[in-house]
Each structure stands twice: as C-alpha cells, then as structure tokens.
C-alpha cells in the first residue's frame, strides 16, 4: 500500500497517495487546473506549461504535471499571476494556430480559449502568425490527416504511439516555431504507422483526425454514443461507437476499463464499414432451380423447419449437425447449442475452435483442468519474461501486444519467441528461436532437459501441486534425457546456446507468461506441443500465482464464449462433459425435457462433421456465421462433402464462399446491431450493445434459432430478451453463476464467478488446478516426425497465418476501405536463397501446388522472414484459398488440423 499523505491546493485539504502526480490529484479532486499536453496514460511532458502552480518554499512557477505530491505540500493553483500567465500561454498558442473548425472533433484547446475569454479577438495581445509559418498538411496516410496549423505540439500523439502502443512511429521535424509532427520521412503514408489511431484519440485539438466518415460527423448535431465490444479478435476491446443518422461514424477505445484502457488497433478503430455495406444480406433467400430467390421469413423458416424435421425422421437424429459461430454472442450460441441438443437431439455441434485452439484447450484441460488462459491480458505489462510460441501477436492480437511491448520497452522484460517465421515482435525479443516447422516438441524437450540438468526446477511445487510428484517428474526426466543440445539442433536447426539461454531465462523469471498461438496449436502434434509447454511450466513452478501461467490469445471475438456456453460436441456449458449424468439431469430440468432425450454420447467435431457429410451419415447442416469453404482444411474435400448434403442452411451477414452451397440463406445481424455478451481471451464476459438497426429484415441469430425450434415443434423457451437467455446460461454453467447483465454494465467480469458477490477471477490455479484431484498433470511426450515431409516433388513446407489488416475469411475486413487500403493482396513469402535457386523474381506470379490442390496465380514476396525451404501464405483471401493446399489429417486428441504444415511445390504461373 502506498502511504497516504495530505496536501492543500488553494487551501482545500486533500489526501492522496504519496508520489502521485499533482495535476492528476488536483483533477481527481475537481480542481480543474488547465492543461493540454498532460494525459494520465502518458509520462509528463511539460510542454504546454498551462498547469503551472506555486508551491510553498519552492522557487517560481512549476508545471504541476511534473510534480509528485508529498506530505504537507501547499499548492496555489489559481491566483492573479498564474491566471495571467495562463492567458499569455493560450494567447501565444492562438497566434500560431488555425482556428477554423468543422465540429467533427472535440477541441480541448478551443474550450480553454473560451474559458479565458480569448475567443474574443479584442482580448488577445498577439497577432496571428500561423500563415507565415508555412505549416503543411499530411494526407498520405490511408486513415488519418495531419494539419500542422491545428497542432499545438503537445507530444501526446508521439507519446501515445511510443508509450501506449509501443510503436514509436512519430517524431517532430524542424525546430522551434516551424516544428511539426511527422511519420516516416515527413510522409505518414510511407511510415511504419499501422493505422491504430491512438494518436487521433489522444489529440486534444483537430490536428490529427481520422479520414473515414469524418465529413459525416457533426458533434453539435445529436451524436449518440454506444459502448460495446470489438467484433474482431479475442482481446475484447471496449469500443465507444459514435452513431449519427443511424450510421456508425466513429469508433473510439474506452479509457479506464480493461482490457484495452482506450487502446485499439486498426481493425477496431476503422473496421466498422462492413456493417453498412450494401452487400449485406437483408432478406431470406431460398435456392429455387439453382438460383437464390428472396423470400419471406415465414416461407424460409417453415422450409428450414420442415427439411430438418424430415431428415431427422428419415435418417435418425444423428443425421443433423450444426456449426456454431465464434462471431456471434454467447446468447446466440447457447440457443444454437440448445437447438442441436434439444431439437436435433444429438451433440453434433462444433465450430471453428476445432480449427484454432482445440489442441491447446485439450492439453490444458487434461493437464490443468481448464482450457482458458490463466491470467489477465494486462498482466503482460508486469511480466519479466514472456515466452511467445507460434504467436504473431502484434498482427493477430495487436492490443495484447501493446502490453507485452510495454513490459519489454519500459520495464526491461525479456521476450523469447519460438517461431520459424519472423514476426514484428522479433524486434523486441531477447531471443528468437527459429525451429523448422513441426519440430517444436523436440525443441521444448531440449529446453526441459536444460532446466532439469541445471536444476532450475521447483521441487516444492512439483511435490505439492503435480500429480505423482517427483515420481512423475522422474518419468519426464527420463524421457527428455536424450534431447541433448546437439540432438535438438539436428532436428530443429536451433543453435544450442540460444535454446539453453531461453530455457534459463524462462525458468529463472519471476513472473513468466506463456502466450501460445496457432503456430503451436494448428499441427498434428498440437496437443503434444502444448503438453510440453505445460510440462515446462509445471516443473519450474511458473504457474499458480499472479502474473505467471499459460495463455492462448483467442483469435475471434467470442471463440472463448462459444465453448464456455457449451457449443461443443464434448461438453455442456461450463465445460461439463456430455457424459456427466448428474449434469444432464440438471440441464434437463432447466430445459424442461426428459433426461433420456438428451444424448449422452460425444457428438461429431468440426472436421468429423464434414467427413460424415462426405460419407453420407450427416444429411442436414445448419451453419451459423462460419465459412468452412474458406477456413476448413483440404477444401476440395470439404466442397465435395458440402455438396453431398441433402439440406444446408447458412446464416450470415454476407454471401460467403459457403453460401453458394446453401439451400436457404438467412440474414443475421452484425455486432453493432446485436445485444448480448462475448467472452474474451482472458475469460472476461463483456457486453455487446445495439448501436444501429439491422439492414432490411435481418434478425439477430437467437431470434432466428428460436423460430426454427418453434416451427420444428420444440420451442426453446420464452425469452423476452438477451438478459433472459444469459440468466439461463448462468444457471447451466457454474463458472457464470454469479454474473448478470446488471453487473456487466460498466466493466466485464472474469469467470469463474460462482456467486453474485464474487468479483471474478483474474488468475486461475492460485490454490489448485481444476482437475478432479486438484493437481497438475505432466504428459511426457516424444518428438515424432511429421507424416507429411518435403520431398523431391514437393520441396517446400508451407506455413499459413494471419496479417494485421485482414481478419479470418475477410468477409468483414475486406469491406472496409481503410483496411484494404493498407493490405488487399494475397502473396506467398519465400526465402531469398530459394527464390534465387528457382529463378523467381520479386512479385512474380507463381503456381503453388500440394498433393491436394493448387493455387494460381499468386505473387511471390521474397523475404528472409521465412527460413530456407519454408513458405508462408496468409489464409484470408478467397482468390488465393490456401486451404486448397492444406491437410485434414488430425491431431488425435483435439481433432485439430495441421494448417501450419503442408508439403508444396512452386513453379512459374503460365497464364
């Protein structure tokens, strides 16, 4: 606890923590000392000088933003001298300032000018000189404009970019009265700026303003502000949407709440155009004679209900299956799951988690008893060692990455990266281990061996908290014995000294966090990879306290929540296995159905559903907000499977690669038209709120689902609204029992939250693991060669992944001008040595083929971001559907597919 001290400001007695910022203390006590350059998220700058005060026994006027309060301090914040000086300061600023204003932005400077009566020209001393100064504008960025004549040079943009976002892209150019802000070489558009817009949000005047939709904004004219949750990745950033004339015109980060505290990335800030796209689905469509024809909701819903009922009758209840959606709310998914279980009568419900973190979750569930991240996103900021495995977080979880960069750049934390491909975080890394694709188990066993042989283990932790204690540890020790640095180097290519250093840094750290991503999970050895991470974490005791643990950042806004609410073939809400009879009885009571009617056998998982469709045992499918025709592995096989279905319903907001195969397409609402909740990567239940009306006749998913159930003769319940649905979720899932919409009003709550007085859980596994006996379990696993290897015909190993500016199957992201202005082209990365050997030149169009399919034409990007012999392609682009090349061989435990490893060849495209 920081010591509380007392001070006086203008004779008002104030108590504050010792060392707190004086200006901040004043403002928290409603003493409005004028200021422009200070922002509580940033280090003090002392540039505007407006916050000057007098302090007894100190000389002169002192900028209060640079003062730490101490006991007995006597501060004068307002007197004639100070106010005159402030008036001068504002007057000076005005003289170099262009005062024109389009009312599209808040202007703290203009407010102060008004407060000091300087809006009246006769009250000013100084002649305006800004026109003589030749201040330029910079319009080169796709997302923002900068006008030096409206800039007060407060440094907030520069510091926000550096201190908050960890990017440090901006600077001043020139000096003195003609200085101004620049990106790059005085060209924002060609700078390293990635468009997150932190600078826009921090700009106190209109010097840096966004480009998209600004002309539509008039803050004097009835702007409605709606707080909600970002629809992109799983960080769960809190947004404030500005709505004018029924349209979203701006998206700001919400300050002062977790997880983002005002931060956003380019997608969160500029990725909302798609909501108002003219391409949105607005009416139900029924395929008639091979063509889609608009229909009424009644006709479409009746048809869907009749067809599903017929299939169930004809082929039995196992012939139906559904894909739930990581995009839609918990409430939507809960009812989707309820439809499959209660109305279809089976457990064939799954979703894209099977394609992303299923292996991580499986390994974590088996070893630790919970499949979710053990810590909070903001904990990264206080960590001293962050082990990043197969996780390009700067591009995939940009806001999480800001906390990691903060730890490195401001606190001296060490980042260890394990990734065959370069990622932007490498710039901040202490060590970058670059194993060959598919060799992670060998590398981690090598690190385990180092830790064991150098006695960096935590015996007490192993004894107390690991199942089997030191005996279990001995088995791990025996297995890892052969992974000598030389042996590991032969398999992985990683130099011994780097591997050794990485192992030491991790094992010795005070609060190490592991952030594991798709690079680890999307492999046939996905579960094994994570078992190895957990083995390392358990024997070093680097879990079970605040700021230490294992965290898989989730790729989609609600991928966590969908599993949490039970849209899984294996578990009911709250991760209770479908075989759990007691739970089934509990559920049956809540759902008011006979216990026997609930299927107690595991259902089919995502890829198994497609295989069953291919084989003919699944005949009807209901796909909600998923696009398997781009995102499933081995697409040629998926396509055939989908074609073999008797009846397919796709519910979405756009036509996708999958909708052409549907019999009925149902138009759903986008995030800004929906009410409900998401769960983010650190288990935080966050509210989603309706900001605008849906287009045409589009309906929120859960409303469509309940209609289908009703028409199939088995209503799901009488829900007045989303809150009613949530309350039912909370009754079915003990982890949510204490959470209600009332409690979510201002901020999210992290599960488990067992009762209404429980504050939520920021860190898992503090006292025990969630396994039946409360102990963590070691899973010693051996390295095994991949079935798919490069050979003469297919000499390259292809890796796939994401980029910052696109998202998933790009149905949303590509319908945003700002995002496509940054990146809109598929490419394949190739090492310069390989390109030279094959005679490929930068940008040349290639044909990439695997044993399963081919892609052409695709431009080659020659870069040492990939190792020799390895290629990389982003998976977002429908015109270059990389999953035509990937395999549907599965990880035996989690049924995840190995998107990260396919043998391919490359040849010139012959148009």
């Amino acid at each position: 606890m920081t010591k509380q001290i007392s001070l006086t400001i203008d004779n008002k007695k104030i108590t504050a923590p010792e060392g707190a910022n004086l200006l901040q203390v004043a403002s928290e006590n409603n003493i409005a000392i004028p200021h422009l350059c200070y922002h509580k998220k940033l280090s003090p700058t002392g540039a505007c000088r407006l916050c000057i005060v007098k302090i007894e026994n100190q000389r002169g006027l002192i900028a209060s933003c640079t003062v730490q309060v101490s006991d007995g301090m006597k501060v004068t914040a307002f007197d004639g001298e100070l106010e005159e000086a402030r008036k001068y300061l504002l007057d000076w600023l005005l003289s170099e300032h262009d005062e024109s204003h389009d009312n599209s932005y808040d202007d703290a400077f203009r407010e102060l000018v008004h407060r000091y009566g300087l809006d009246k020209k006769e009250n000013r001393l100084f002649p305006s000189i800004y026109k003589e100064l030749g201040y330029p504008t910079d319009e080169s960025s796709p997302v923002l404009s900068y006008d030096a004549a409206k800039c007060i040079k407060c440094f907030r943009c520069i510091k926000g970019c550096d201190e908050v976002q960890g990017k440090n892209v901006l600077s001043f150019t020139n000096r003195g009265i003609i200085s101004y802000i620049i990106g790059g070489f005085d060209n924002w558009g060609e700078s390293e700026c990635d468009g997150c817009g932190e600078c826009i949000q921090l700009c106190p005047t209109g010097a840096i303003v966004e480009k998209p939709h600004r002309s539509a904004i008039n803050l004097l004219n009835g702007i409605q502000k709606v707080r909600t949750t970002c629809p992109y990745c799983g960080v769960g950033c809190q947004l404030e949407l500005f709505v004018q004339d029924g349209k979203i015109v701006r998206s700001n980060g919400v300050e002062g709440v977790s997880p983002n505290d005002g931060r956003l990335c380019v997608k969160g800030r500029f990725g909302y155009d798609y909501v108002h796209s003219p391409e949105r689905l607005t009416k139900p469509l029924i395929k008639k004679g091979g063509k889609f024809v608009e229909s009424s909701w009644d006709e479409a819903l009746d048809l869907v209900a009749r067809k599903f009922s017929e299939i169930k009758e004809k082929y039995g209840r196992k012939a139906l299956a559904g894909y739930a959606s990581a995009k839609t709310t918990n409430e939507d998914n809960y009812l989707f799951m309820k439809l499959v279980r209660k109305v279809f009568g089976n457990n064939n419900v799954d979703y894209c988690t099977r394609l992303c973190h299923a292996s991580t979750v499986t390994a974590m569930l088996r070893s630790l008893g919970d499949g979710a991240g053990s810590n909070s996103i903001e904990d990264y900021a206080g960590s001293d060692c962050i082990l990043v495995t197969g996780n390009n977080m700067i591009e995939t979880h940009p806001v999480t990455a800001t906390f990691v960069k903060y730890a490195v750049q401001r606190k001296g934390a060490k980042v260890i990266i394990i990734d065959p491909k370069w990622t932007p975080l490498v710039k901040d890394a202490h060590i970058w281990l670059q194993p060959k694709l598919g060799t992670d188990v060998a590398l981690l066993n090598g690190m385990l061996r180092v830790i064991i042989s150098e006695d960096l283990i935590d015996r007490e932790f192993i004894t107390k908290r690991v199942d089997g204690g030191l005996q279990a540890f001995e088995r791990l020790k025996a297995l890892t014995g052969k992974y000598t640095p030389e042996y590991v180097k032969a398999i992985t290519g990683v130099p011994a000294h780097l591997m050794t250093e990485a192992a030491r840094v991790y094992a010795r750290a005070g609060s190490p966090l592991i952030a594991t991503g798709m690079g680890y999970s999307q492999q046939v050895t996905g579960t094994h990879n994570v078992f190895c991470l957990i083995n390392m974490m358990l024997i070093t005791g680097q879990v079970g306290r605040r700021g230490a643990g294992l965290n898989p950042p989730r790729g989609q806004n609600n991928v966590q929540g969908v599993s949490d609410v039970g849209a899984s073939p294996f578990t009911y809400p709250g991760y209770i296995p479908v075989e759990d009879e007691e739970n089934l009885r509990h559920i049956a009571r809540i759902w008011d159905v006979p216990f026997e009617s609930l299927d107690s056998k595991k259902g089919l998982s995502t890829i198994e559903i497609m295989q069953a469709a291919y084989e003919g045992s699944v005949k009807g499918m209901y796909i909600m907000g998923e696009n398997p025709m781009l995102t499933d592995p081995n697409l040629n096989h998926t396509e055939e499977a989908i074609k073999r279905l008797d009846f397919l319903v796709v519910q979405d907001i756009f036509h996708t690669d999958t909708t052409p195969f549907a019999d009925v397409i149902l138009p759903a609402t986008a995030f800004a038209e929906s009410e409900g909740t998401y769960v983010n990567s650190d288990r935080r239940v966050l509210r989603v709120r309706k900001a605008v009306d849906p287009p045409g006749q589009a309906r929120q998913d859960w409303e469509i689902i309940t209609e289908i159930a009703r028409r199939m003769g088995s209503p799901l319940g009488n829900y007045r609204n989303e809150s009613d649905i949530w309350d039912e979720i909370a009754r079915t899932a003990p982890i949510f029992a204490g959470i209600s919409y009332d409690r979510l009003k201002d901020q999210g709550i992290q599960w488990p939250c067992p009762d209404k007085d429980h504050p939520g859980t920021d860190t898992l596994f503090l006292e025990q693991f969630n396994t039946p006996n409360g102990l963590g379990k070691l899973h010693p696993v051996d390295y095994a060669e991949q079935n798919e290897q490069a050979d003469e015909t297919y000499p390259f190993i292809l890796n796939t992944g994401r980029i910052l500016y696109q998202y998933h199957s790009s149905t949303m992201s590509r319908r945003n001008k700002a995002l496509t202005d940054f990146a809109n082209q598929a490419y394949v990365l190739m090492n310069p040595g390989d390109a030279e050997r094959h005679g490929f030149t930068q940008g040349q169009k290639l044909r990439i083929a695997s044993r399963r399919g081919l892609i052409e034409p695709i431009a080659v990007k020659i870069s040492n971001e990939v190792l020799p012999g390895e290629l990389f392609m982003p998976f977002h682009y429908p015109e270059a559907p990389v999953n035509r090349l990937t395999r549907d061989e599965m990880d035996p435990y989690s049924k995840i597919a190995p998107f990260k490893l396919s043998a391919v060849n490359a040849s010139p495209y012959k148009g």
Binding site: K167, N168, V169, L170, S171, F172, T173, N174, R175, I182, G183, G184, F185, D186, S191, E192, K427
Partner: protein
C-alpha cells in the same frame, strides 16, 4: 573525386559505428561529409534507421533539428557567414551582400556549377577577428571584400587544379 572517403558506400560508413542510437549524430555527420553534395540522401537516412533499429521519423527528426545537416543537395563548398551580434557589429551584413554578388546567388542557394552554397550561421566563436565565415571546415576571419574575393578565387582555382 578528391576525397577517398567518397568511394565508400553508405553501408560501409554506417558500419564503422556500433548500432546504437547514441551514434546517430556521428553517423549523420559521416554520411553527409562523405557525400560530394554535402547532404543526407533519403537512402542514407533509411539505411541509418534500419541499422540503428530506429523509426524513420526519429532519424528524420534529428536530421532536420540540427542546422548542420541538410536534406537537399548543396554545393561542394558550404560558405557559412557568421551572423552573431559581434560579427553583425563588424558588418556581417555586408559580407553576406558581397558573397551574394560574387557568387551570383542569394543566401540559401547553390551556385549553378554546384561549387558553393551560401548559408548563415550562429556565432562561430571567432569573435576576436570578426567578421568570419567558415568554408567547409576552414574558418576565415577579418573579412573585407578583397579578402572574400581572394578566398573564393583561391577555392575555385584549387578545384580547377584538382579536376585537371
């Protein structure tokens, strides 16, 4: 080519320094001095930023903050007239006028033959013999029109010899 350093490429120059930010000013000096037109090319700034792991804007911001650096091509000889209060007392204004006449350019410009750029400078610390100019690294003091003409003539002559 009179200066053997001019044969060095940007990368070679940069790599004489450790890749640490505190070397930035020394690197920019070395790059500018190496360029026959006495300036920092965008390529040079780019290479420097990459070598030091700095954002482009930091390097550009530094290069434009300090008056000795130029981002536009200049003459082979930079003539910098001291305009301090002392030199002004000793008619620095006249020195500027004379040089403008002799070189046929105004302050800030470069002669068409690429020989001279005329610039102003803050105090050169030569006040004992004001007025002063600095031509590249050499200081000339106690200037009057004759002395200025002599200096310019001498430099032109030495260049002709060197070019022969």
């Amino acid at each position: 080519m009179t200066n053997p350093l001019q044969l060095m490429c940007t990368q070679q120059i940069i790599e004489q320094f450790a890749p640490e930010q505190h070397n930035l000013l020394n690197i920019l000096h070395a790059l500018q001095d190496n360029h026959p037109q006495n300036y920092l090319t965008e390529q040079a700034l780019d290479d420097t930023a990459r070598y030091l792991g700095l954002p482009k804007s930091s390097v550009y911001g530094v290069a434009t903050y300090y008056t000795m650096f130029s981002l536009v091509p200049r003459g082979r000889y930079i003539v910098r007239v001291c305009t301090s209060v002392v030199c002004e007392l000793h008619k620095a204004g006249r020195v500027i006028g004379s040089l403008e006449n002799m070189l046929g350019i105004t302050t800030g410009e470069t002669t068409p033959d690429g020989m001279f750029t005329l610039e102003l400078s803050e105090c050169l610390g030569q006040c004992q013999d004001a007025p002063s100019v600095m031509v590249n690294e050499k200081v000339y003091n106690n200037l009057d029109d004759n002395r200025l003409a002599e200096i310019i003539h001498q430099i032109r002559g030495s260049q002709k010899t060197a070019n022969r």
